[in-house]
């Protein structure tokens, strides 16, 4: 009975997002388009590694981060700001079902994105990645999306409904650039490289890049620790804001 609610909630959340072209095009279309442009059409070799292989890691990170930031952040900001969330809270829906649905939706979109990118890279880009590395990359990207889901929640409670998409982009796009997701960090100015370690996208991309390169990554653990810390930090702030929201409901008409 209750599990049926969770499944239905997730199914309709997914259908709802899928039908919003602004959402599916931006979170799936853009990362794939960039990958095709820079990874497949301009498929240069960079040292021993082809761009089509390298960019699987960085555009993979760009893609899953975008899905989570927009799926959680923008969705929540709009539904909260417009009163739809309140109607659901008044209904008998079990409250966790709302977040479960958003989580499942983000997972499905992320899987679709990674599978499509791998398929494109292998078929048209001569990406060289072993089946084991592919599985590893897949697992890393899925687990590594957690801090972005948490950041999305935080933004969802913080941002006004009307401007949420622009605000999320204003955070997401510079963050991606400064972490070397579009252009390898080595090509970026020194100041940008100094900022990168303060961004979750940087840490996730470092783990993913090492896997597609086939490097032994001594620093993977510290990157995972950083991602875990980001997740806890964002979630903690999101919980604080959610509580503020609840008291504000009690203090504003």
């Amino acid at each position: 009975m209750t599990s049926a609610i969770y499944l239905k909630e997730a199914k309709y959340e997914f259908l709802m997002r899928l039908r919003v072209k602004a959402f599916s095009v931006s979170v799936i279309g853009f990362p794939l388009l960039f990958y095709v442009l820079f990874g497949i059409l301009m498929n240069q070799s960079w040292g021993p590694i082809r761009m089509s292989t390298y960019l699987l890691a960085t555009y993979g990170v760009f893609g899953v981060a975008g899905v989570s930031l927009f799926g959680f952040g923008v969705g929540l900001a709009i539904e909260r700001g417009m009163g739809w969330l309140e109607l659901k809270q008044a209904s008998p829906m079990p409250p966790p079902a709302y977040f479960f649905a958003k989580l499942v939706c983000c997972i499905v979109f992320s899987i679709a994105l990674i599978v499509l990118m791998l398929a494109l890279g292998l078929s048209f880009g001569h990406a060289q990645i072993s089946p084991l590395a592919m599985l590893q990359l897949f697992g890393i990207l899925m687990a590594g999306a957690l801090p972005f889901g948490a950041l999305g929640l935080l933004l969802g409670y913080l941002l006004p409904a009307s401007s949420a998409p622009s605000f999320v982009n204003m955070i997401f796009l510079p963050m991606s650039f400064c972490s070397g997701l579009w252009m390898p960090l080595e090509f970026l100015p020194k100041t940008v490289r100094a900022i990168a370690p303060f961004l979750p996208t940087y840490h996730l991309s470092q783990i993913a890049i090492a896997v597609v390169r086939g490097d032994h990554n001594n620093s993977a653990l510290s990157h995972w620790e950083a991602l875990a810390a980001f997740t806890l930090f964002f979630l903690g702030l999101a919980v604080l804001l959610q509580r503020r929201d609840a008291t504000r409901q009690n203090s504003v008409a």
């Binding site: 309709y12 039908r19 709009i78 417009m82 009163g83 109607l87 209904s91 008998p92 409904a161 008409a253």
Partner: protein
């Protein structure tokens, strides 16, 4: 101030609700008896929506008590017996009417059959439209459908006809009367005296967060000073 909440479907007992220093509700008593349709009448800003949100457990009172079926409105079991129509700024537009009804039906233990919901909310032929493709009146009908789909014992309708033209408003009245005839308890908020008069067993007039009158539509209308006062408060009743 004696509250016999257990006999009521829902009750506010001596409730005060503050927004900062503003008294949105000031020692308000409000009971909805079982099977009764109560209209909460008042101009915008009178505290009607606040009263509804308190009864839904979306807000907490600063003073007084709120009871639904004799206990806390936040009880999941209470929510399963309650249907709600709130003023929603925007509903996600890319689900179909049928899909929304299916989703909300799944929240309730004994939902009505889909065909019955569609008929009761007058949505025949619109089931497969995306929410965003519906007109204002049709959207209100879907929201009404979401409120009744679980066959709830208690229905909260917060300004259900606001923004509708006369025809759509009267059509929704008919649907509300049909639900009322099924023995449900209903709290309806409105700023139209005519709407309250047409639907309610009892009208409670709210002004500046205080109950200024409480009685049958005939009693309320007999009180001409009250009517005059109310017409001056709301201004534009002439539009109906």
């Amino acid at each position: 101030m004696n509250c016999v909440a257990v006999a009521d479907a829902a009750a506010l007992c001596c409730v005060t609700k503050l927004y900062g220093s503003h008294r949105a509700l000031d020692e308000v008593d409000l009971q909805i008896g079982r099977g009764e349709l109560v209209a909460l009448l008042g101009p915008n800003g009178a505290g009607k929506t606040t009263a509804v949100k308190l009864m839904l457990g979306l807000l907490k009172p600063d003073e007084g008590t709120v009871e639904v079926f004799g206990c806390n409105p936040r009880e999941p079991r209470n929510r399963q017996r309650t249907g709600t129509m709130l003023q929603v700024g925007r509903v996600p537009e890319t689900l179909r009417a049928r899909e929304y009804l299916d989703l909300f039906s799944s929240y309730y233990p004994h939902p009505l059959p889909m065909a019955e919901i569609v008929a009761a909310a007058n949505l025949q032929g619109l089931e497969n439209r995306l929410f965003g493709q519906l007109s204002g009146g049709q959207k209100q009908r879907v929201l009404f459908g979401l409120a009744i789909c679980g066959d709830p014992d208690l229905l909260f309708l917060d300004e259900p006809t606001v923004g509708l033209d006369v025809q759509a408003r009267r059509a929704l009245w008919k649907q509300i009367r049909a639900v009322r005839a099924g023995g449900k308890s209903i709290l309806l908020t409105t700023h139209y005296l005519e709407e309250a008069d047409a639907l309610a067993d009892r009208i409670v007039v709210l002004h500046h967060g205080r109950v200024i009158a409480n009685g049958t539509p005939a009693e309320i209308k007999r009180n001409s000073t009250l009517e005059d006062a109310f017409l001056t408060l709301t201004g534009n009743e002439g539009e109906l």
